[in-house]
């Protein structure tokens, strides 16, 4: 969770439900997230459904905006990114049980910057966010 209270920030919560490259949803989400960070918002993102494919390591699109790299950059700038464990398990990303120390489910295939988490990670983002934007779910 973004620590909004200590920073007195507005929080933008986002959910991505489609994978990268098949549509521009992930692209738009990352660009809006970066702009929101630049404007001083705290940003928290949840990857859900096929959106969890955005966490794949080693993405190498020839011409498209690299979503993996964009998400790494967002985390570096302060964003929090989590992905749904049920959706990640179904798509082969999860390697074991929840790791309390790392505060995430382990995965060799997912970016280190993304925490694979229970759905309650998103519920907390809904609760704590001042704004909520969903991408690709309707």
């Amino acid at each position: 969770m973004v620590d909004a209270e200590s920073n007195n920030q507005k929080i933008l919560s986002m959910m991505l439900f489609t994978g990268p490259y098949g549509s521009q949803d992930a692209d738009h989400m990352c660009r809006i997230a970066e702009k929101a960070l630049d404007k001083g918002y705290g940003v928290q993102i949840f990857l859900y459904g096929d959106g969890v494919h955005a966490q794949l390591k080693g993405q190498a699109p020839k011409i498209f905006f690299n979503i993996g790299e964009a998400m790494q950059k967002l985390v570096k700038k302060g964003a929090v990114i989590k992905s749904c464990v049920r959706c990640s398990k179904a798509r082969g990303y999860v390697d074991g049980e929840f790791d309390e120390g790392q505060d995430r489910y382990p995965s060799d295939k997912a970016l280190d910057e993304v925490k694979i988490y229970s759905l309650y990670g998103f519920i907390d983002m809904i609760k704590s966010g001042d704004k909520l934007i969903t991408f690709g779910s309707s």
Binding site: M15, F17, R86, L119, Y120, I123, I126, G129, L132, S138
Partner: protein, 120 residues
Amino acid sequence: MVNVVIDISHPPFGHETTFAGLYIASASLSKGMDVVVILRGDGVYTGRKGQLEPMENINLPPTEDQVADIIELDGRMVADREALSMRGIDPEELIDGIEVLSTDQIHDIIIDHGEKVVAF
């Protein structure tokens, strides 16, 4: 109290979408949030009772059970009367506890209750 609207316009089977939306509704209720689920467009098919056991037939989770759970957890579930009418679904065919409202009334819910709207 945080108010959440889950707006479902996809049919219950064929995509993961509706299952995913109802799953968020249940999780939000279990965290003490005030939840309204709107069934509109093809989403109204989700409200029909007497669906065949989908795990046995098409290997998808039963959304009918999810709807019943949400109502049992005091979630409010509403269906769009016009969407039902266009699809030839009688309100009597809906799972007990689903309210049938006009499109206009549903828009009021989105405006008045929808601090956070998650659309599926």
